[in-house]
Symmetry: C2
Subunit: 153 residues, 2 copies
DNA sequence: TTGATATCATTTGCATACGAACGAATTTCG
DNA sequence: CGAAATTCGTTCGTATGCAAATGATATCAA
C-alpha cells in the first residue's frame, strides 16, 4: 500500500494518526509527573514522614479512633497498603492499636499523644506544601484546576 | 489564653485556622487519587503492561535507540527505576540491550520487532485510556485542565 | 439454627519510586 | 598531561500500591 493510499484510508475512516501518539501529552503521563513533583516538594518540607503517612495521621486527627480498614477507605488505600503505613507509624510511636471490644475482627487505630503533637506541628508545613505545589498557578487558575482535578479523582 | 483571645489573634494575624485543615481538599491528596484512578483505568485496558512500561516502549518508538539513562530522563524515571522497567521489558523480549561502541559506560536500549508490534497494537488502546480518564470532563474542561496540569508537572 | 456470604486483617508476590553509595568510564580544566 | 569532577549504570534499602489467597469473625437468609 502506498503512502497516498494510507493517507486516503486515514481520512476516509477519520482515524487518528497512529504515527502521532505523543506520550508527553497524555493525561496519565503528566498526572504521574505532577504527582512526582508534589511528593518531592513534600519531602523537602517534611523529611521524616511520607505523604501517605501524613494522610493517615491527619485523618485520624479528624475522625478519631477508627478501624484500620475504615481509615484505609478514608485515605484511599487498600488493606495491604494501609497495614504497612500503620505498622510504620506504630513502630515510631505515632499511633497505637487496640482490639475492638465487640467485633473481634477489627483493629482500632488511634493517635498517641506524640502522634497528635506531630500532626499539629506538621499541619502548617502541609499548608506550605500545598501552596508551593500550586505556585505555578494564579489564584483563579488554582480554583479552576482544583475543581476539575476533583472531578477526575 | 482564652478561646476568645485565640480567635482574636487568629483574625488579627489573618492566619489560617489550624483546626480546619482538610486533607481531602489538598492538591497532593487529590493528585494521588487521580493518579490511582488513571492507573486502574490503564490496567483495565492493558492488562499485561504497566503505564511506566508502556511509556518506555512508546518513547523508544519516538526516539529510537537511546541509552538507558537518557530514556529515563525522557520518561521521568530515575536511574534505579528505569533499570527495573527495562529489565522486565527485556525479559519479555520487547526491548534489547547493547553496549555503546564509543562510550563504554552507556547501555543502549532498542525496541525488538516484537516490541514495536506491541506498541503499535497498544497505541489505540492508550488513546482510549486517555479518553476514559478524561471522561468526567467536557471538551472545554479538558483543554483547560490539561493546560493547567502541564504547568504543575 | 445453620449454611452461605460478607467483612476485616494478614501475607505473599510483583512493580514502581527514590535516596545513597559504589565502580567504571569520560570529560573538564588547571 | 593528569587530577578533579561528572556521567552512566548497578545495587541496596525503604516505602507505597495492588491483586490474590487465606483465616477469623460476623451477618444474612433459608
Amino acid at each position: 500500500m502506498s503512502a497516498e493510499d494510507n493517507l486516503l484510508k486515514l481520512v476516509e475512516a477519520e482515524e487518528p494518526d497512529e504515527n502521532d501518539y505523543r506520550l508527553q501529552e497524555q493525561v496519565g503521563f503528566i498526572l504521574r509527573k505532577a504527582h512526582q513533583r508534589h511528593v518531592s516538594i513534600f519531602a523537602a518540607h517534611i523529611a521524616d514522614l511520607t505523604p501517605p503517612q501524613f494522610a493517615a495521621l491527619a485523618k485520624l486527627r479528624d475522625v478519631g479512633e477508627t478501624s484500620q480498614n475504615q481509615l484505609g477507605t478514608l485515605i484511599a488505600m487498600d488493606a495491604a497498603t494501609v497495614k504497612g503505613v500503620i505498622d510504620r507509624l506504630r513502630a515510631r510511636g505515632l499511633v497505637d492499636l487496640s482490639k475492638h471490644e465487640v467485633d473481634k475482627r477489627r483493629l482500632l487505630v488511634n493517635l498517641t499523644a506524640e502522634g497528635r503533637d506531630a500532626v499539629e506541628r506538621l499541619i502548617p508545613l502541609a499548608r506550605e506544601i500545598t501552596q508551593e505545589t500550586l505556585a505555578p498557578l494564579s489564584a483563579k487558575e488554582i480554583a479552576t484546576f482544583m475543581k476539575l482535578l476533583a472531578k477526575l479523582a
